[in-house]
């Protein structure tokens, strides 16, 4: 080859050899400059279509004029040999420079900005590198970074991704899988399509390696490396790597492309911000392994949700979990914990319109926020400004969001939140902005409401599906209030409900209601679990009657309804106000199928010995399937479920933090899901959809 002319380049000397070909130094006799020429080997197992696309990509890449991209001058074929003429870059590869200990953070940032800038230009032109790695990034003696092999990586041979690496110092030993696999993103390993975000993953690997001299995902075999890429999180980089740089690397290495930066220019901007801000760079430690390890890694598992899956949402005092199953509801995959260390008092699955959105309220030292996820928990909003806030003139500040209630199905942008201190907020733009419902907040009774053990909480919001102007709220301790004019005015509806802790036992308001439920098929009927007392109203809360006929205690928290049978209700009685644990250490759900005329215990599969459990007001729910599933969680962190209407129970999970809230939903094919958060969030169409079977079920219930 030496002395031969390829196009107008005379080959001068061989300077390296790789898996796919040989690199020569050449002299461009037309333009009088030194160049590098890569000649692709005939046996590089390129079929004709691969060969064609390699040519096309090389031609596209030749249009990338950028100081940090090794310019491709020419591509062509001579006697069946494919050759690429490019800028001759002399310097050291980033792999060599990183060595075994990594570069100083300042150098990593300096190089990283240039690499990100190169990727930004290429991505803007629709060109994805596909094989970015420290071995094909060269740093010249002047500190200029050059990214090589742009657009040249293609699938060759048996589907192995390989680049015709040209770097003078890294040609040797870069053939085959070992040189590339550690930089492959999970989506490529899964066989999914790759896009520009796959390059951002590789950039994360490059930055990690440049900063530490180590690869983030290692292993002795390809299998081990692949497994690490798919499942493991890399060991954190502590000082001297600044936290800002580590945060950028972590975001590049998010397993899901959606969780990464979406554009190379964003990475560039973030690296520049770390570079230019007055960041404290801790002194490099002489021996990093001797440093105290104070970084805590959060391992979050995600569940993959498919059509027709059934999801169970569990809010705890230290985060949320998402469980998935199919309609049999026997086996569960568990995702989470989301919101590490934060209390999640309310959750909802919103399938109105075309969305599949999870709503969650999170609460910690840093305040209370309403957040949502459109990808089943993989990413959550974290708004800069808290959207739910009391107006300045109220002097009040938000302590907790106890309830997220979806508006009617035909108003998919309407939402309500019941909060502490007791107040109701409304959004008409899908949660972007919220307003305090003044009619209730300015109610003359409000100054005389008293906080219960859990604070002064508005914890239940029920919408009447047959009358959009009618809503109910329940307040602990304030009682039940109803509006007939869409929230303008509210009246106390507590006739017949006791308040044992008050001098007057049946006051107009001030009752400590623990939970209330409404059946969409019979919306004038309500059930209520009071701080002492189980009640039913058949006239929209005008009058309440005691239905604690045959329960071991009428103290308890949750009350949930069967989705189809308005006579069927579930409650969990607990022993005494002081103890608040399951009666006699036997964990039992009680069910009535005659609207409270009698109650029967459901206990098969539930612990019946020394089970001193408490089920909190929102920690129980029913689903919409047939047979109906019932789920509840305990303060001791156990999650129980029944997929046969309560006949048999299993412990789905144990060892969770205290369970505050349990909700469920079905991911139906058209995005429609039935959600049964203690029946408080039924929508019009869900009741219509289940209407036919509801009638059938009611008849069956009567026959039984």
């Amino acid at each position: 080859m030496i002395g031969e002319v390829l196009g107008h380049c005379r080959v001068v000397a061989k300077i390296g050899e790789g898996g796919m070909g040989v690199v020569y130094r050449a002299y461009d006799e037309l333009l009088h400059r030194d160049v590098a020429v890569k000649v692709v080997k005939k046996d590089a197992s390129l079929d004709s279509s691969s060969r064609q696309s390699l040519l096309e990509e090389a031609r596209a890449s030749s249009s990338l004029a950028h100081p940090n991209i090794c310019t491709i001058h020419d591509v062509g074929e001579i006697e069946g040999d494919l050759y690429i003429v490019m800028e001759l870059v002399e310097g050291k590869s980033l792999q060599t420079l990183a060595g075994e200990t990594g570069l100083a953070p300042e150098a990593v940032l300096r190089h990283g900005v240039q690499i990100a800038s190169a990727l930004g230009r290429a991505h803007d032109r629709g060109i994805v590198h596909r094989d970015l790695k420290t071995a094909n990034i060269v740093v010249t003696p002047e500190g200029l970074v050059k990214v090589l092999d742009f657009g040249l990586a293609k699938r060759v041979g048996g589907g192995i991704l390989e680049a015709p690496t040209l770097s003078l110092s890294t040609v040797q030993g870069t053939s085959g899988l070992s040189g590339t696999l550690p930089y492959m993103p999970p989506e490529v390993l899964r066989g999914d399509a790759s896009d520009s975000r796959s390059d951002l993953w590789a950039l994360g690997v490059v930055l990690y390696e440049a900063a530490s001299g180590r690869l983030p995902f290692g292993g002795r075999t390809g299998f081990e490396i692949s497994a690490a890429i798919m499942r493991e999180i890399p060991a954190p980089l502590g000082p001297p790597v600044p936290p800002g740089l580590w945060a950028i690397i972590q975001r590049c290495l998010a397993k899901e492309p959606m969780q990464r930066y979406q554009r190379a220019t964003e990475v560039q901007a973030a690296l520049e911000a770390v570079q230019s801000a007055g960041i404290a760079f801790p002194e490099p430690a002489a021996d990093r392994s001797g440093q105290p390890r104070t970084t805590t890694l959060h391992t979050i598992q995600h569940v993959r949700i498919r059509k027709n899956d059934f999801v169970l949402l569990v809010g705890t005092s230290k985060g949320a979990f998402i469980l998935r199953s199919n309609s049999l509801r026997r086996r569960w995959d568990v995702g989470g914990p989301y919101f590490h260390g934060q209390s999640v008092y309310s959750l909802a699955y919103d399938s109105r319109g075309d969305r599949r959105r999870l709503w969650a309220s999170t609460s910690s030292f840093w305040g209370t926020l309403l957040r949502c996820s459109d990808d089943f928990g993989k990413s959550w909003t974290n708004p800069q400004q808290a959207p739910i806030r009391f107006p300045p003139d109220t002097g009040a500040s938000l302590k907790n969001i106890w309830q997220i209630t979806l508006g009617p199905a035909d108003e998919p942008n309407r939402l309500y939140c019941g909060v502490e201190p007791a107040a109701l907020f409304e959004s008409q733009d899908a949660g972007e902005t919220w307003s305090l419902m003044r009619g209730l907040f300015d109610h003359p009774h409000r100054p005389r409401w008293m906080p219960g053990n859990g604070g002064l909480a508005l914890h239940t919001v029920l919408l009447d599906p047959s009358n959009k102007q009618r809503m109910y709220v329940a307040i602990s301790s304030g009682g039940v209030y109803r509006t007939e004019d869409g929230g303008q005015t509210w009246t106390a509806q507590n006739r017949g409900i006791r308040a044992l802790f008050m001098p007057e036992k049946y006051p107009e308001f001030g009752q400590c209601v623990h939970k209330m439920a409404l059946h969409p098929a019979q919306p004038e009927r309500l059930f209520l679990q009071n701080h002492w007392g189980l009640y039913r109203s058949d006239d929209c809360g005008e009058h309440w009657s005691d239905i604690a006929n045959g329960v071991p205690s009428d103290f308890g928290f949750p009350v949930v309804m069967h989705p189809r049978n308005p006579d069927c209700v579930y409650a969990v009685p607990v022993e005494s106000e002081e103890f608040r644990c399951s009666c006699d250490g036997r964990l039992r759900v009680y069910r009535t199928r005659n609207a409270g005329a009698s109650w029967e215990p459901l206990m098969r599969g539930l612990p019946q010995k020394r089970a001193y459990e408490t089920v909190l007001r929102d920690a129980m729910t029913t689903d919409s399937l047939d047979p109906v599933g019932i789920y509840f969680g305990t303060r001791s962190g156990q999650l129980f479920g029944s997929n046969d209407e309560g006949k048999n129970w299993v412990r789905i999970l144990g060892g969770l933090p205290s369970i505050l809230c349990v909700r469920c939903g079905r991911v139906e094919e058209d995005g429609f899901a039935n959600v049964f958060p203690v029946m408080s969030k039924r929508s019009h169409s869900s009741s219509k959809k289940t209407g036919a079977s509801a009638r059938g079920s009611s008849r069956n219930a009567k026959k039984r």
Binding site: F365, W366, R389
Partner: protein, 94 residues
């Protein structure tokens, strides 16, 4: 005059990952200094303060080594140069 803020890990999402943020400051009280921080990093504000402008119950703000709860609260004057630290209370039991 400048003021440097120490940002706890939980809030670095709103400071582009920075553990410290150094800002130009024309002098004044903790309120003035925090206002400059809210302008630079708006997401930090609602995590530190409630909507009525009070520092959240379990959050402490230090100027140098002094907790402002004992030096005049948000009206505490900020000397030059200063390090203002935002620190969540060390508490437990949950």
């Amino acid at each position: 005059m400048s003021v440097t803020f120490h940002i706890p890990a939980a809030l670095r999402e709103f400071t582009q990952g920075r553990s410290t943020v150094e800002l130009k400051f024309s002098g004044g009280t903790v309120t003035d200094a925090l206002s400059a921080l809210w302008t630079a990093c708006p997401g930090v504000r609602d995590r530190v303060m409630n909507e009525q402008g009070q520092v959240r119950q379990h959050i402490n703000v230090f100027v140098g080594n002094e907790n402002i709860r004992y030096t005049g609260g948000l009206a505490t004057l900020v000397p030059d140069p200063s390090l203002i630290s935002i620190v969540p209370a060390v508490s437990g039991g949950n």
